[in-house]
Symmetry: none
């Protein structure tokens, strides 16, 4: 009697994913307070009520989006990257290439970066403990930097501060991707050069 049960579950999962995906961009562009459920639903192309079938509240939807930005493939790939038996310089080039490629091709990636960074600025302590995106991404980057400084390819300075700066710039260009069309993004080489010494 049920509607085919498996297919049902499938449909639900698809709808849920679509909502999460489309909301990410919308929240990143408009902020939490600036996002009206009615507009969001229209933007996604569903009824207002449908949102509440899948999420208890605007806040739950937002939190889930935030959580997702941390569990994404990107992070996992980065974790793998840091453990590869290659030079820090190569790692940083790969990292920069990966970031800029994603940023160029995928607005949602930009949205995730923007949301994540903004979250680190929020008071309400979503990311209050050091167990979040910040630590994850920043620590992985810090390790690359430390390796690079040993290898002599990375500029001097406190590794964490450099990582912080590096990701700050990524945030900057994520915002540009989201909000402007005027300026082209910087090249992956320019991004990498933030950490790497100029080649003599």
């Amino acid at each position: 009697m049920p509607k085919s049960s498996e297919r049902c579950q499938e449909i639900r999962e698809e709808a849920r994913s679509k909502i999460l995906h489309d909301s990410t961009l919308y929240f990143a562009k408009n902020g939490f307070a600036g996002t009206k459920i009615s507009d969001l639903a229209k933007h996604i192309g569903i009824g207002q009520g449908t949102l509440y079938v899948y999420f208890k509240s605007k806040e739950e939807l937002f939190n889930e989006i935030y959580t997702l930005t941390n569990n994404s493939e990107d992070i996992k790939n980065l974790k793998i990257l840091v453990h590869l038996p290659i030079s820090a310089k190569k790692k940083i080039y790969k990292l920069s290439k990966s970031i800029m490629t994603n940023l160029m091709q995928d607005e949602t990636y930009a949205a995730k970066v923007a949301l994540n960074t903004q979250m680190m600025f929020e008071k309400k302590g979503f990311a209050s403990e050091e167990t979040t995106y910040q630590s994850e991404l920043y620590q992985v980057t810090e390790k690359m930097i430390i390796q690079g400084q040993k290898e002599g390819s990375v500029v001097n300075g406190m590794p964490m501060k450099l990582a912080d700066y590096f990701w700050g710039v990524v945030y900057l260009y994520a915002l540009k991707k989201l909000f402007t069309t005027k300026y082209e993004l910087i090249s992956e080489e320019d991004l990498a050069r933030i950490l790497l010494k100029d080649e003599a």
Copy 2:
């Protein structure tokens, strides 16, 4: 009556200033949509109604704040700076010093920088006309960069793109000033070095 009339005006002006000053910080931290009049009034330490004695609406208050960030002393000083008969390198050092000093000492300055940059990202076209902070500041900075490139002290690249990047980093640390306490800001030298070639 006539005697106290001036004093009255004075008091009005003071109250108005206080509201503008305190609101700047609050808007920068919470955004326009995220700012409730009730919270804002509490934060300033006045009644909700009082806000409406001085400003017609939330939007008017916000616009006024935005306008003020453009007419501030800082900008004027920068305009003067660009016309001084000194090397671009010195100008850039002075600019960086001025920015970082303000950023360190004055949260409201950070708030102004943040608001201004955010405004450039907004759709609503507050800054759509090229007569705004962006153009002003960016053009002044662009001129310095062009001068510096001629003098050989500034790195290569499109001047406007460099200016854009320079102010992007300033924005980044303005946000850090507003939202975190953890990381120290970068030094004025580090900021200047974004534009300047490393000294051999």
Copy 3:
């Protein structure tokens, strides 16, 4: 097709009955406004949509339930009771016994009593016409009381007021049956004694 047609009708009737039966209890406990279709369906053990296969709307379902409480066997039996050639005292004992037995054994009976009485309190005039449960039951009871007063077995007082009081008490214990487990119901003798004079 023609062969299964009957069976089909039969199944339909069964399903319909189950919905009516289970809903009666649910409405009685939660009221019309307090009953959500989603909860009701879950309680019955069917899908929400299924309800609408059998009933046009929540209101139609409710009305049907209300109507059914009037056409039930109980009423018919009571109408027969009043015309039996026995003493009012015996009739009242039989009535009381019938009521209390039903009340004890059948929660749905309690639900019917509760719903009916509540309906008399509603403004919306379901029971506005005097062609309803109230009049039916009350008039039958009134007749018994009048007969009993003639026979000297029933206490003095306005017959309709006594009937009203009698059924009020039944309503009271219907509620207890529906909502509590603590107190035992009164005995059928106690119920009968509301109308009957104490035996000297």
Copy 4:
């Protein structure tokens, strides 16, 4: 600068009281689920928003009403009554008189009785512990009954069951007061006679 501070508090208290008072009747007549905030506000004669100045939610308002029905003067008076050095018969007459007088004159009193009794029937355990209205009122009444049975003026039976029945009848007439106009209430003598033996 504040509006006169005391007067302000006063106004708030008055408004709050008015809302509580007027809502009691409305909730008693329509039930919690059947009460719309928009209608309730209209009925009270205030804006919808005003309700939320004084109460966080519909539920909080309802709970407060319920709490108030327990702390009312009536209960306190009854507690005093039970300790007076008079016969149980007199106490029961006084009790009945007090109840019926209130019921006749004050619809809000009827509303309180109705709400309280209904609450005892609710699942959600507002009154789950025996520390509520039920216990309070019922225990006081039980004591009178026990005293009366010793004195020989009160009918036989489990005292708590009798108290339960007595208040059930009060509930019944509270409902009549709230919802009908047809039948006059029973007299205070009739109410007292529920507990008292017929005088020989």
